[in-house]
């Protein structure tokens, strides 16, 4: 769940190496006016460091890497692994981090992103209406009132058919139109891809230049994920990272579930995040309130937040959680100490 070097290094080196993102743009903030925070001060000797409460790289705002808008497609191949949940939570995490986000629900037949975000009553127009001239693009964008820099765009209504006469060109036009908006270029365009590799998948991946592959640690999901990764690479999308969802450390410990490292060994993809199994996901889905907005935050919400952090910096995980250890308690733990 955290970006750590292997534990061979000492703690200070470890901390600094995690603070420094791997991208070279980190030291040139002027090149990226969207960067929210100034770059961290140059490294000082360890003894002069201020006290840091949580020794993580997430103690600062992330530095946006890459050209905007970054068009990221979130796909899996197999259905039900958490693509839409990932899109909603990562999208809102990015919005919380201060980046402007447009989430496109490209699941033509089975759209659900509006439900997860609690915006289903506000979707009046979709991309199909925009293409037909029934409304403008800005009328079809649904702005989230919780985080005003997050917008939702649905590609079609459940009972309407998407005209594929111009295929994925429509999404390319959409991205171009979003670039020319008066509000400015959005930092992220997240595309929630439908399951399978049908026409909807082909349409969704068309404008993307990077991909997030969501998978679960089971063999059916892994086979589909490998296939989809191959298709994405054939299409020219090279920046592919994966999120392993619904991980249970107790089952991994009992060798009933593949570990995250096993999954990574089979797929050979960089890890963007590991999301533990959490019953709060179902609750938040039914409430239309994404996990990352929960207070207090849950394990899965924290993991989504950290995945969003890495997505901004184009970073990947250096260490993963393997199993849960019993917490060491003090002498007075019986009394609540």
């Amino acid at each position: 769940m955290v970006s750590l070097q292997p534990p061979l290094t000492n703690s200070n080196t470890l901390f600094y190496s995690t603070l420094t993102p791997p991208n070279p743009f980190h030291y040139f903030p002027n090149l990226y006016p969207k960067t929210l925070n100034p770059p961290p001060p140059p490294l000082k000797p360890p003894h002069s460091l201020p006290k840091i409460q949580s020794i993580l790289q997430y103690n600062r705002k992330p530095q946006l890497a890459g050209d905007t808008p970054r068009v990221v497609v979130i796909t899996s191949g197999k259905g039900g692994v958490g693509k839409t949940t990932t899109t909603a939570n990562v999208g809102l995490s990015l919005a919380r981090l201060g980046f402007s986000v447009v989430a496109i629900d490209a699941d033509v037949g089975l759209r659900n992103l509006d439900l997860l975000l609690g915006l289903e009553n506000r979707v009046n127009y979709t991309v199909v209406e925009v293409l037909n001239g029934d409304c403008r693009l800005d009328q079809a964008l649904v702005r989230d009132k919780r985080w005003s820099n997050f917008e939702l765009l649905c590609i079609s209504k459940p009972r309407s058919k998407l005209p594929l006469g111009f295929g994925g060109k429509a999404l390319i036009w959409l991205v171009d139109a979003l670039k020319d908006r008066e509000e400015g270029v959005p930092d992220f365009i997240l595309i929630d891809c439908p399951a399978g590799i049908d026409a909807g998948f082909i349409t969704a991946i068309t404008p993307a230049n990077e991909a997030v592959l969501v998978t679960t640690p089971d063999i059916t999901s892994l086979r589909d994920a490998d296939r989809v990764t191959g298709l994405l690479e054939c299409d020219g999308i090279r920046d592919i990272k994966m999120i392993v969802n619904r991980v249970r450390t107790d089952m991994i410990k009992g060798e009933d579930m593949m570990s995250v490292l096993d999954v990574q060994e089979m797929l050979g993809l960089a890890l963007l995040g590991v999301i533990p199994e959490d019953s709060e996901v179902i609750r938040s889905t039914n409430r239309g309130y994404p996990l990352v907005l929960n207070k207090p935050p849950t394990l899965a919400g924290l993991a989504f937040e950290q995945a969003a952090w890495r997505l901004v910096e184009q970073d990947s995980m250096k260490a993963v959680m393997v199993e849960e250890e019993p917490k060491k308690r003090g002498w007075f733990s019986f009394f609540g100490g």
Partner: protein
């Protein structure tokens, strides 16, 4: 009874009472020598009634409260103890002679005498009011019971089957915290105290749980090997053209890039109401009325103008006075029907519906940004 105190209150010594006139003389004593046996009885004696016939002719009532704090004078036997243990309230009312007052011409004075002639009252007064512990305990218990009762009532109200909270908890109703509710955000996502690295850097504590960490072992070489494996396994070209099954492949299209869409596809269709350029223009439109809305409006406008022209021509031939009554219901019926017919025909036959919008000078203007 050792803590008895003597309070002697004389009304005529208090400035606030001095201005008041009391119709009788009231004396309140705690020690009197003629108290009889009963300890709880309060005896009123009227033996000390005196009429304070002052020169000012005002009736004054003297109210004396006396309690003993100093040791009582030595009195013999049980009589003294009884005296100390009991409280005596003596009300001495000195009633002036009523008859002359009633006969007086002053009505206020009459009323005052009438009130003064009423039977005297006796105020029981305990010498010592010590707050009982039992009373306080009872009051506290009653308060606790009240709070518990209100709490259980509120709990039962929320857990009542069929209530909003119950439905939300069971998932049958979405929570009221949807959409525009205020965001729940924990304070600082950039300094998250819920995540802590252990001292040895091999553990992490998240949300109170400690997890063991393992370093990622994937290398760049392994990633490259996987990419090569996939490129060999999956030879794929992204489809560029979507054709309905049965259509012929255009000559300049690679057959590998054709995606065949069945006619009964649940959510995709190859048919389109508008052409590609117009769709692109619609997506890029930033301001103004959307294309279709404007086109429908202008088509309706043209239809209305045509109807008005027909009406003018008809007026030349038919007597307008005679025909007006027959035309109105017909026109009012016709006008709302026409746009509906146009829109329905548009949806049923896309090719025929597109042409009126694209043809003519009005539609040419609409395509301009």
């Amino acid at each position: 009874m050792a803590s008895m105190s003597t309070i002697q209150l004389r009304l005529h010594t208090l400035p606030s009472f001095q201005r008041r006139d009391f119709p009788s003389f009231l004396e309140f004593r705690t020690e009197l020598g003629m108290i009889s046996s009963s300890s709880s009885s309060i005896t009123a004696t009227g033996c000390c009634a005196r009429w304070n016939d002052s020169s000012t002719k005002t009736l004054k009532r003297k109210f004396a409260v006396r309690a003993l704090s100093d040791p009582p004078p030595p009195v013999k036997g049980d009589q003294h103890n009884n005296r100390l243990q009991h409280q005596l309230f003596t009300l001495i009312s000195h009633k002036p002679p009523i008859q002359p007052a009633l006969n007086s011409p002053n009505p206020t004075l009459n009323l005052r005498h009438a009130v003064a002639s009423l039977p005297t009252f006796i105020l029981p007064k305990k010498k010592h009011f010590t707050p009982s512990f039992a009373t306080g305990l009872c009051a506290a218990a009653a308060f606790v019971l009240f709070v518990l009762r209100s709490y259980t009532a509120s709990k039962s109200r929320y857990s009542r089957p069929g209530s909003v909270a119950d439905l939300v908890r069971r998932g049958q109703l979405r929570s009221d915290r949807r959409g525009i509710s205020t965001p729940l955000k924990y304070e600082d996502p950039f300094n998250n105290p819920m995540v802590k690295i252990g001292k040895s850097n091999s553990t992490i504590e998240m949300c109170g749980k400690v997890f063991r960490l393992a370093p990622v072992t994937l290398t760049k070489d392994q990633q490259t090997i996987h990419q090569k494996r996939r490129s060999r396994a999956y030879q794929w070209k992204r489809p560029k053209v979507f054709l309905k099954e049965g259509d012929s492949i255009p000559p300049d299209v690679d057959p590998d890039t054709v995606r065949w869409i069945p006619a009964n596809h649940p959510f995709a269709t190859t048919a389109s109401e508008i052409n590609e350029d117009l769709a692109q223009h619609n997506v890029y439109q930033k301001h103004g009325v959307p294309f279709r809305i404007q086109a429908e409006h202008e088509a309706l406008q043209r239809k209305l103008e045509a109807l008005q022209n027909e009406q003018k021509l008809g007026k030349l031939v038919i007597d307008p006075i005679a025909a007006q009554d027959f035309e109105r219901p017909f026109k009012s019926h016709l006008k709302p029907e026409e746009p509906a017919e146009r829109s329905s025909s548009k949806h049923t036959n896309p090719d025929s519906a597109r042409n009126p919008f694209l043809d003519g000078p009005a539609s040419d203007e609409e395509e301009k940004p």
